[in-house]
Symmetry: C2
Subunit: 153 residues, 2 copies
DNA sequence: TGGACTTGCATAGCTTGCTATGCAATATTA
DNA sequence: TAATATTGCATAGCAAGCTATGCAAGTCCA
């Protein structure tokens, strides 16, 4: 049955922004449950992804890879140090900068963390065809590109 | 050029969870800028959407429409009361419950808020074809359905 | 070489999400 | 009807995002 609504309404179930926010919260919740046993949390995940690729880099170099604000990263790093996931050492040739190093603890959970993320993605996309998944990811990438340009302007 | 990576890696640019999180932050940032002049913020938006449809309902009734936690809603309502967007009155027949009412201030910004959200959605989706947009929204709805089931289990 | 910019990072303070817990009012039941 | 359970909401405390600001170290010139 079709229900008529007056012209000045807003259907949140058809609003991209609303849906995207809802989906992101559900994704985060699922991932959180899966990585909690590893002693890491969702906000640390993107940072760890970069450091597992390469550590010993400075906060600034890390920041360049992340698209979060500098203050957000600084706070996340502080919590990661508290949780014994990283160590920070003075940069040898610039006393302002620090080098960020993974601890053994952080290295050890890498493969399990990758696996947890893969499982979360798989669980979320389980009802989609291979084609639908590919389209979905490519559309998101397009949108991110568009929005980044808007904000940068 | 194709670069080979060893099997145990994780490409965040192909990870649905990573991309969804990034996109959601960009959406929120864009909306925030557009509604700030109206004196409202992003977390209040879903609450307002429901109250613009119907106010005088209880917190519990509101909660049932929102898929956020009860504590999150209670805190958001407290800030909205502080910002003079709502009033809370005791429920006539249940002293535990409260009725939530929009203020005139909140009613006045409704149409502009709708318009801001529409513009944000339009800006984000501007590079997509009509078909791609429809597919995108429908895929998100599927994923939300899947993830909600997972969490509820 | 000293004063003025710039840079790298930290801190303060906010929002919006979460879990866990507390508490008074209501409902149920022995 | 008194004891118990449930319900509706608030509070505490944390994470992770943001903007704005501070500050020490480095750089650049006049």
């Amino acid at each position: 049955m079709q229900v008529h609504k007056c012209s000045m309404t807003f259907d949140k179930e058809k609003s991209a922004g609303f849906l995207v926010n809802h989906m992101a919260r559900l994704f985060a919740k699922g991932l959180q449950e899966k990585i909690a046993p590893l002693g890491i949390v969702t906000g640390q995940f993107p940072v760890l992804l970069e450091l597992w690729e390469e550590d010993g880099i400075t906060q600034k170099e890390l920041l360049a890879k992340l698209d979060i604000e500098q203050a957000t990263l600084a706070n996340t790093l502080t919590r990661m140090e508290r949780d014994l996931l990283i160590k920070r050492t003075r940069h040898p040739s610039d006393a302002r900068a620090q080098q960020i190093w993974l601890t053994e603890k952080a290295r050890l959970v890498r493969d399990q963390a990758y696996e947890a993320a893969r499982q979360q993605n798989a669980a979320a996309l389980v009802n989609l065809s291979e084609e639908e998944r590919a389209r979905f990811l490519s559309t998101i990438q397009k949108i991110i590109g568009t929005l980044r340009q808007n904000n940068a302007s």
